[in-house]
Amino acid sequence: MIENREILLNDPNSERYLVNMGPQHPSTHGVLRLVVGIKGETVDSVQPHCGYIHRGIEKMCEHITYPQIIHLTDRMDYLSAHQNNHAVCLAVENALGVQVPERVQYIRTIMDELSRIASHQLWWATFGMDLGALTTFFYGLRDREKILDIFEESTGSRFLQSYYTPGGLMKDIHPDFQKHVKEFLVYFRKLLPEYDQLLTGNVIYRARSINMGLLSKEDAINYGVTGPSGRGSGFSCDVRKHKPYGVYHKAEFNEILRTEGDVHARYMVHMDEMRESMKIIEQLIDNIPAGDFIAKMKPVIKLPAGEYWQSVETARGELGVYIVSDGNKNPYRMKFRSPNLSNLGVLEKLSIGHKIADLIAIGGSMDYIIPDIDR
């Protein structure tokens, strides 16, 4: 960074410029600041500067109890709030050796997949908008609204649900939950082809995405790029398949893998994952067993001293929760392995040599959620 500035200062005739993109740039989807070195219109360096929305969530966790931590994890990757809650709940339950009722596992898995669809819908909507197709934004948000209504009906909140709690759920699902989810699946199956007609085949979109931002499988593994971005490069990293949690082992679904590694491959992984999620929900929604929605837990949860790790697949990749406990009611240290931070690391490698407008497309395809990067 300092080196670059010196080159600029020392050589007034240099054709290289440093341009600040963000922290208030709409295409970065949050307060991410990218210092972009450009020659003409070609990008030759991208340096992300994090910290604009750092809230110290990991530190805050050290002072509050385990049930209280749940509501903070909502605010990391807010589009996969359910999955973030799930990670902490599973870590605590596994540490205590609590067996949660099967009903809870079914509901959690269905909620996770619903929020994955909602997240991918929003991603599709904003990604199209980044590339200049404003219509996608309205269509994506229109369909996402249906899922948010389902969430609001059962959990009480549309966005930051805080629905899971160590041992089970905060409250039981609404009696109409199954009916409304089935209605949504019928509705969305009909509309998903429209997404393809609108954007996937579009000539402008294809020209801007195919062979753009190539990420090799080696780089994906080296940088720890997980989620749809990693799977677009052929890196088989789906935690739902490799380390099943919830009732994913009872559902039949495919891990979407593509080998091209460009923006279009990542796009197609997102689109196909929505179909796979619908398939999972369809298999589970009729089989929710009756029973309690919460296991019997002690009023004060104290983890035995030790270290615990649990990872789940959020809409953006592998979220890991690492708890160090010293036997107290609050953790000694809490660490979140957030998928977006690892995905951000590879951005410079992807965008060098491309035009600055393509940096927007590449950044959009990686699906960054900035509060998850900074935490």
């Binding site: 209280q68 509501h71 009480g156 909140s157 930051l160 609404h174 007609q197 609108l198 579009n202 000539v203």
Partner: protein, 164 residues
């Protein structure tokens, strides 16, 4: 010759892809022009009277009172302990019950709406179900001090069946 053919083929496939997309948007344009079927938005401030939130909706924390202006809070302070942000403060007092015995009761159940993150732990933890979710969501005020609320109504008493 082949290059020219490819060139024109590309142009035609590009136009075809654009018309495919335009067909979708055109369909919705036509539907919206002649019907109300595709209206997904609400006229919010105008439809206030008909607007009904879901039963589970988390608008704000309230204390339920029955028709005799009696609440169920005995001032045990479990909600205060469970709140992650310190948005609940219970100011307790001593009160004589009907037998003349001094019991612990609440003077004020102070709830700071501005600090609340709506996680619902206080409501879940309450042993006597004194707290519940309110449906009101229009919290904008001109003065910050109005966000500090006292949940127990003035002159309210504790219900008889609630143990200390």
């Amino acid at each position: 010759m082949k290059e020219i053919l490819n060139y024109f083929q590309e142009i035609f496939s590009a136009i075809r892809s654009l018309t495919t997309g335009m067909k979708v948007t055109g369909k919705y344009f036509a539907i919206n022009a002649f019907t109300d079927k595709q209206v997904f938005t609400q006229k919010y401030p105008e439809n206030r009277k008909e607007l009904k939130m879901f039963d589970a909706f988390r608008g704000e924390v309230i204390m339920t009172h029955n028709e005799n202006n009696e609440h169920r809070c005995n001032g045990c302070g479990i909600c205060e302990l469970n709140c992650p942000n310190g948005s609940i403060e219970i100011i307790a007092k001593k009160e004589n019950n009907e037998d003349g015995k001094a019991i612990r009761a609440i003077d004020q159940h102070v709830y700071q709406l501005a600090m609340c993150t709506f996680c619902g732990l206080c409501i879940k933890a309450c042993p006597s179900n004194a707290l519940d979710w309110g449906q009101d969501f229009e919290h904008a005020v001109f003065d910050r001090s109005k966000l500090t609320k006292v949940l127990n109504q003035p002159g309210s008493k504790i219900q008889k069946d609630i143990k200390e």
